[in-house]
């Protein structure tokens, strides 16, 4: 389930390049409503990729990741609406503020594993959500902060589509570099055998904390884009269901494969969008999807395809 694969995606640079060219050309023929959905998928994809640094790479089930997503969104909203600074400054501050939250939350939770880590991260996430939800004077309470002024340059759906795509690709490159670095390898080693890493002379929790903070940073970037897309920041961005949904996306796509979480993010975001047009019970479809997934594809969709490809090769 966790194995990093070289078969499916990483070898196929040509395909990746083709996919990027294709994505860059979509605005030429696609209707504007699609572009809005596609941009949302890019944002959620980045959010899922950031969680996978904790969930897939470090093997720690965080159920509070939405916290950093929301902090990113609120930071940009507050910077622009309350401090009246240019949007781009707010966008740069947001991931840093999210990372600071990650330092604090990570410091207390990173020494735990499994269910305890899940519960504690969820608890912290709910505290942040509660503050956003109740503190009307500061965060706008359950109304959120609405009407973020957006510069005309990225006002239209086409421009925002390209902005989101460019930021996603840039972040994916950085995340990939970190994964392949000595640090990234150390995180995988910790997942595989903590004791062995300790007895190689390393402080395990220092590395896990840094990894947690980096993940929070990238979630903050995703949150920034989410705020711009919605022209608002809402408390629900940080609600625990937003944390659980992204865990599901990662597992659906496959946590062991680099782009797996993106596939999961795309499927769930698109499903939510299209099925909810016909029925309020779109979550029922999601429920069936989860059952099929857990029973037949424990490695996620990418893991499933990858295993098949390996079998064929043999």
């Amino acid at each position: 389930m966790w194995q990093t694969s070289k078969n499916l995606f990483s070898g196929a640079r040509v395909w990746l390049l083709a996919a990027i060219v294709f994505l860059a050309m979509i605005p030429i023929f696609a209707p504007q409503m699609w572009l809005h959905l596609a941009a949302e998928i890019f944002i959620v994809s980045l959010y899922a990729m950031s969680l996978n640094m904790i969930l897939g790479r470090a093997g720690l089930p965080s159920f509070g990741h939405a916290c950093f997503y929301a902090v990113g969104a609120y930071t940009v909203a507050m910077f622009v609406m309350k401090l009246h600074v240019p949007l781009v400054l707010g966008m740069m501050a947001a991931p840093v503020v999210a990372a600071v939250f990650a330092v604090i939350i990570g410091y207390f939770s990173i020494r735990l594993t499994g269910i305890h880590f899940a519960i504690l991260t969820m608890g912290f996430g709910q505290i942040v959500w509660a503050v956003a939800h109740k503190w009307y004077g500061f965060t706008g309470g359950d109304d959120g902060l609405t009407g973020i002024p957006i510069p005309s340059l990225i006002h239209g759906p086409i421009a925002f589509y390209y902005l989101a795509l460019a930021i996603l690709i840039a972040c994916l490159i950085v995340i990939r570099i970190i994964q392949d670095s000595p640090f990234g390898q150390t995180i995988v080693a910790i997942r595989e055998n903590r004791d062995r890493v300790t007895f190689s002379g390393l402080k395990v929790w220092h590395h896990l904390l840094l990894n947690f903070v980096i993940a929070g940073f990238f979630a903050g970037i995703a949150g920034t884009l989410l705020a711009i897309l919605n022209r608002s920041a809402f408390p629900d961005f940080g609600y625990w269901t937003t944390s659980a949904a992204v865990v599901l996306m990662c597992i659906l796509g496959g946590v062991g494969i680099f782009l797996g979480p993106i596939l999961g993010a795309a499927i769930i975001t698109a499903l939510e969008h299209y099925i909810s047009m016909y029925t309020y019970y779109w979550q029922m479809v999601l429920g069936f999807l989860i059952i099929i997934l857990v029973v037949f594809m424990p490695g996620g969709i990418c893991g499933f395809i990858d295993a098949r490809l390996k079998k064929n090769k043999q």
Partner: protein, 245 residues
């Protein structure tokens, strides 16, 4: 003194797992710690490697106090250990496991923006040749045979450049031929790399053929410490451990 242990004690509730242990080990020695199950051998090793903190006592390595240091700090002082149950990276290849250990022990683990793939190729290959795993470099850890897993674990300890190595039952669960080839490898490496060994072992034939000094632990105490010849002739040891009347 290379390794000096003074009055080391550890209790779990009413159980004195390790009780007032004193021991001195010279550089290059190979000491076997033997004793019945539950004698406190593993606890003793856990105290020396920082896995557990002692209730009292003192451990100095090469003149520096290492009592109560965290395990990773003790490893950085060049004290390595292997575990009773093989302790490897199950899904990493043999090559990746060694490289990972080199990344860790050479303090390169905080490098975020360079590729791990380019690191330590020569050194990893060299270590694999030393332990006879060069041909299995691309094999996945968990798919190795039991003996090869132990070799891999030993290779990882070598990669930390440890000078003192604690081996907790290095041949546990092995067939007789595997036992002797593993012990032969360990001794050959110890000769070549000038390592000091402290190991526990249940198989007396292994102990008496490889150890130059034997310490006998019973109920948390060292009741005898000497050459194999002395231990064999020690009446108390024969009575309580070697099973003679």
């Amino acid at each position: 003194m290379f390794l000096q242990i003074k009055g080391l004690s550890k209790s779990f509730g009413a159980l004195k797992a390790v009780s007032d242990v004193n021991m001195e080990v010279e550089e290059g020695e190979r000491v076997a710690v033997i004793g019945p199950n539950g004698a406190g051998k593993t606890t003793f090793f856990n105290l020396l490697t920082g896995y557990l903190a002692p209730d009292s006592g003192e451990v100095t390595f090469k003149g520096r106090d290492i009592t109560r240091l965290a395990p990773d700090r003790i490893v950085r002082r060049k004290v390595g250990r292997s575990f009773q149950i093989v302790n490897i990276y199950p899904e990493m290849s043999v090559f990746e496991s060694i490289r990972m250990t080199l990344i860790a022990s050479r303090q390169k683990s905080y490098r975020l923006f360079s590729s791990a793939r380019k690191l330590f190729h020569g050194e990893t290959g060299e270590i694999l040749r030393k332990v006879g795993l060069a041909e299995l470099a691309d094999a996945t850890g968990e798919l190795l045979s039991h003996g090869d897993k132990k070799r891999l674990e030993i290779a990882m300890i070598l990669a930390t450049q440890s000078e003192l190595i604690l081996l907790d039952e290095p041949t546990a669960g092995m067939a007789p031929e595997e036992k002797s080839s593993t012990m032969a490898l360990i001794n050959e490496l110890a000769d070549r790399e000038k390592l000091t060994l402290l190991f526990t072992e249940h198989d007396m034939s292994v102990v008496f053929s490889w150890a130059k000094r034997i310490a006998v632990m019973v109920l948390g105490r060292i009741i005898a410490d000497g050459t194999p010849q002395e231990i064999r002739e020690n009446s108390e040891v024969r009575k309580v451990y070697l099973g003679e009347r």
